[in-house]
Symmetry: C2
Subunit: 319 residues, 2 copies
């Protein structure tokens, strides 16, 4: 089999091959190929979020397929849009690639982006392709609020319930398995390709969430961001988290406690929201704590994390 | 003087310092600090464009100040929005930086972004900061069409005039001066900090431009993109380009012909548009050619470029 590199097909050849794999949905009024894309914004406001993913820092090609990297890069950004209470409409994706990168890698990466967007009705509407010695992905997501106020981190009020939608700790457990040399454990899939509970996130917004954040830095770290932005104190109870047989098995295998991953692990892109106490809990969500008045901090009732590493700082911590 | 690095202040310290320099204008409904920004999109559609800039490929820190890199990165993206006939509203900016990067570099970069956005009423509304061995910038721009149809590359019709707004060739001449060891020549400023004629670009859209593109790959290369997308033949006359004393001086200094830079040099972010023959030429624009029926190609009447390098391919040509 002849392996065709990005340098073999050139910038415009690569763009043509990638774009051919990216169908345009109804929110894309003008897709790739012009100076800019045109995307529907029926609300009259647009929500936008951007992330960079760097090989060796955010992903490893020997740990994840190109398809998984595409799914994961899209999921991280689409979850940010949903965490604002908005429906994702579009992605724009920059690819900085070494000339030796296989064209197939870029194509499968595009497939992953597409498949993560598609169920939400979003499309990859544009991007950029450049040369770099370090494979780097830049993803921007857009979304529409559908007439609702954005759900920020700053709106939590004393008395609100703290609610989680989606799985926590699996991505960190998967990463720990990879580091420990267990690449074939099924939990590794949660690291390679997280599954943000998009529908539950949007249901939390519709149910009147006063504040919401997607869990990317870790539940405690992200709750601290939320508590600080809202100027409230938050207490969560670890006994409210369901017993998770898969996490328990991995924790035993690696000599860890599952709550390390549930409370401190990041990148599951679950949603944690504050809901007025009287609001009905949407399907797929569970009560884990409560908001109190007081200076922005988070207290864990139950299992206590040890050590001081309480989240991810890009310049202070190694992956 | 103590030089503070990105690693010294950490991810969140860096974000706080950068965000403090980014005032939010009227199009920013929610700026940095949440999962996503919220930007006005009164037209009900949003125009979006994204670019990656990689150190050593798109800029050199010994050739450009951080402020200039910020101005240039913003200009390239804002020009894409204007080339669609839209008014820029917002930038989102990803910064992938080595831990040793001086915080001051990031701050001055942000100042450059801000100063390029500000006269247009746009703001830097969000971004991302990550670690990378290669300094890499990801810029996404958003814009509003104000009720007009987008001006694509595909709408040129036989009989249209071909019109240029803005200076051509100065960025390439500036780059040639840097390469030849003349960093203090005043024309280098056009490379370090291009000045897209935003107002003239928007005036071309308002005057009924049938197609428009910003000159980033080079006038001939970009006209070929436009001719191919529109399925037309384009002829331009080099005698229509004004005599440019500065370019002439640099060309003489370096033993080059100024039209090499005018026709083939990129990154001036001038605008080239097709206008119905009866449309009035907006201020700051000049007639340079005409659109004919025929297969998508471009013919130059007058001075002929030599050689085959007719634009920039990221994987086929060196900078």
């Amino acid at each position: 089999m002849i392996r065709i590199s990005v340098a073999d097909v050139g910038e415009f050849g690569l763009i043509a091959r990638v774009v051919a794999r990216l169908p345009q949905g109804p929110t894309s009024l003008l897709g790739p190929g012009d100076d800019g894309a045109v995307v529907t914004a029926p609300d009259g406001r647009v929500v936008a979020s951007t992330d960079l993913l760097v090989e060796g820092v955010h992903f490893r090609r020997d740990w994840s397929t190109a398809y998984d990297v595409g799914r994961r890069a899209a999921a991280a950004n689409l979850a940010d849009i949903v965490a604002m209470g908005a429906t994702p409409t579009a992605l724009l994706v920059g690819l900085a690639a070494p000339p030796t990168l296989a064209v197939e890698w870029a194509e499968r990466f595009a497939d992953g982006l597409r498949d993560e967007c598609d169920p939400l009705g979003a499309s990859v509407v544009g991007g950029d392709v450049v040369r770099s010695e370090v494979l780097t992905l830049a993803v921007t997501a857009l979304g529409d609020l559908g007439g609702r106020a954005p759900v920020t981190r700053a709106g939590a009020r004393p008395g609100d319930s703290v609610v989680v939608a989606g799985r926590l700790g699996h991505s960190a457990a998967g990463l720990a398995l990879l580091r420990a040399g267990h690449p074939d454990d099924p939990v590794v899939a949660a690291y390679r390709c997280p599954s943000p509970p998009y529908a539950a996130g949007l249901a939390l917004a519709a149910a009147g969430a006063t504040a919401m954040i997607d869990v990317s830095d870790g539940l405690l770290a992200d709750l601290r961001h939320l508590a600080a932005a809202s100027g409230v104190h938050i207490e969560i109870e670890t006994r409210r988290f369901p017993r998770d047989a898969e996490l328990g098995r991995v924790a035993e295998l690696l000599g860890r406690h599952p709550f390390e991953w549930v409370l401190i692990g990041g990148e599951d892109h679950a949603f944690v929201a504050c809901l007025p106490a009287e609001a009905e809990l949407p399907a797929g969500c569970r009560w884990v704590g409560r908001v109190f008045s007081g200076a922005g901090g988070v207290r864990v009732i139950g299992w206590q994390p040890r050590g001081t590493r309480m989240g991810f700082d890009h310049f202070g911590a190694e992956q």
